[in-house]
Every structure is written in structure tokens, then in C-alpha cells.
Symmetry: C2
Subunit: 195 residues, 2 copies
């Protein structure tokens, strides 16, 4: 009798394979065949989950969001009850490629950032999460008692998310080390919130 496979487990297995293929070859090389081989399942099983490449790409982005949210759930105390600086840092540090898991996620995010530049549909789907993130950061900037009040909290929040995205690109392209990226984020948090 064939072994029963938990569908959630199979879905995670395919998602992880999808992230690894994206990280190794880039989004344009993502195909049902490559992902199936990487996951060690049949092409049919991958096709069971996605009918088109677009569905597969969307799935890659969604599963990255789910993973980040699951990790954030473990830092909820800091995010909800920490200082504004601690809360913003706890969020943004999850988006920098500082370990293997975040590296894979950053590869997917960077690939989608580039694709958003030529696809209004992907731009729209990226924008939603971005607006939420920026709103949260702007609120914390307003709530903070930094020495010099920030003139434009929304603009500062947008710039901070741009810095993190740029640092992710530079880290993956080995134009800076993970340590430098983390230090650059902390420098900017010092400027906005005080040390």
C-alpha cells in the first residue's frame, strides 16, 4: 500500500525546492521540470499544485511571506511591546540574508523586485505587503522620542525599506558581507531612533 503523504508536508517540500532553484539559477530558470527534480517528486505532482509558471512564481512569493510571518510570530512580544527601535529592527532583520533560510527568501524577494519593474501585476502584489510594512515603521518613528524629530516619517519609512532591499541585493551579489548589511541597518536605526 503506498505511503500516505501529508499534503501540507508535500507543499512545503515543493516550496523549498522552488526557493532553492530560484536561489541557484534565478526566476527565469524556474520550471516544473527543475522544481520536480530538486524536490525529488514527479513533474505531475508539481503540476498538481500549479497549472502555469505564473502560479508557481506567485506560490514562491506567498510561501516566503508565510515563512517570514511565522518567524515574526516568535518575536511578537518584542514587536508589540518593545521600544520603537526594537520593534522595527525585529521586523527588518528578518528581511536581510543573514542565514541560509533568509538567504533563500531574499533570493526570491530580489528576483521578484526585478520582475516587478516590468510587470504591473507583480508590482501590485509586492506593493500590498510593502505598504503595510511602511505604515508600521512610520507609526513607530512617530511614536519614538528620538533626539531630533524626523520631519517626514512616511518618507523615512520608505527609505528604510529601500535600504533593506538594496542591502539584500548587495549581500547576495557579494558586494557587501552579511555583517556589513546588519551594521548598515543598525546605523540607520541609530539615525532614526537614537542609539
Amino acid at each position: 500500500m503506498p505511503k500516505k503523504v501529508d499534503p501540507g508536508e508535500r507543499r512545503r517540500q515543493i516550496a523549498q525546492a522552488l526557493h532553492r532553484v530560484t536561489a541557484a539559477r534565478g526566476l527565469d530558470e524556474v520550471s516544473v521540470r527543475h522544481v520536480a527534480a530538486e524536490a525529488g517528486v514527479s513533474a505531475g505532482q508539481v503540476q498538481h499544485w500549479f497549472r502555469t509558471k505564473d502560479q508557481m512564481l506567485r506560490f514562491a512569493l506567498d510561501t516566503v511571506s508565510e515563512q517570514v510571518e511565522a518567524r515574526l510570530g516568535r518575536h511578537m512580544d518584542e514587536i508589540e511591546h518593545g521600544t520603537p527601535r526594537q520593534a522595527v529592527r525585529a521586523l527588518l532583520i528578518e528581511l536581510l540574508p543573514l542565514d541560509d533560510e533568509r538567504r533563500l527568501e531574499a533570493h526570491v524577494a530580489v528576483a521578484f523586485g526585478a520582475r516587478a519593474a516590468v510587470s504591473p501585476e507583480i508590482a501590485r502584489s509586492v506593493r500590498e505587503g510593502m505598504d503595510q510594512l511602511r505604515g508600521f515603521i512610520a507609526e513607530r518613528i512617530r511614536a519614538s522620542g528620538a533626539r531630533e524629530p524626523v520631519d517626514h516619517p512616511e518618507r523615512a519609512a520608505a527609505a528604510l525599506t529601500a535600504l533593506v532591499d538594496g542591502l539584500a541585493v548587495h549581500t547576495l551579489a557579494e558586494q557587501c558581507t552579511p555583517e556589513d548589511a546588519e551594521a548598515a541597518l543598525d546605523d540607520q536605526l541609530d539615525t532614526l531612533f537614537g542609539p
Copy 2:
């Protein structure tokens, strides 16, 4: 008798077509066929310039660098004799997608940034220009008499280039306006050099 075409002119014509195809469809859609159609020349004429897609991609990046350098040449006085803030601003403002020409260039740069994350060879070719740019900025940060001296000029220079790259991605993906991107750069220059 067939009209003689200046080879430099033909090369520029193909480069511009290559940039437009990258901006409209992304790097993975760049092909000899698409570029020839966009330039209004034969596929054979495009192939006269590049034997492989890699050669064509490298050409796209090189011509963007040439265009930026040509524009910087017109601001040499500011770059060499302006204040440190003016010099750094004159350089970085050329990398933000604030008009049609810089938008096309930013599309090429963002696409290459994403590809550098999965291709060590492209990462290497991007890194060279980046090291030069950061070296120049770090020197100007050290030379500036900002109110609060910057502790780590190299790190601050690297962060500033990451911010500009992140702002370019966000502007192209319509996550911020060109005006917001320019204002965010100026905010950061205020922090580093004083207003």
C-alpha cells in the same frame, strides 16, 4: 548604392533598442530577434555585434556605464570642485530613474543586480564599478566637515549605494515616486554631510 551607415551610430541604435526591450520585458526576454525588431534592423546586423546572449547582456551594461559617464563628464566641475555633498549628489542622482533616459538605464541596472545574485561572473563585473563609486563617496565623507563625524565612512558609503539601488527598484516598481526617491537621497545626504 546602399547608404553607408556609421558603425558607431548603428551600435548606439542597437544599444538603445536593447535597453528598451530590457525595460519593457526584463532581461530574460532579451533575444536577438526582439532587439533587431525594436531597432528596425535585421537579425544578422545584431548578430554582427554579438555572437551570444551573454555578449549582448554585457553590452547592455557597458553602454549604460558609458552613458552615465558621458553625463557625469558634463558635471565634472561640480564633482571635482564642489563641496563633498555636491560631488556625491552629482554622482548618485545620475543613478536614480528620474527621467526617461535614467529610467531605461535603471531597468538595465536592476535586472543585472538580480542576475548578479545568481551569477558570480556578472557579480564580478558589477562589483568593479561599485568599488570605485564607494571609494569616491567614502573619501568625500572623510573630507566633509559634517557636524557629527561619521564613524565608518566605508560602511556609510556602501549603505548609501544600497539605498540608491533600493530606491531605483522601488521607483521602477511604482512603490515610490521619482520625487520621493530624490527626497530620500537628499535626506540621507543631509544626515551624512549636513544640510
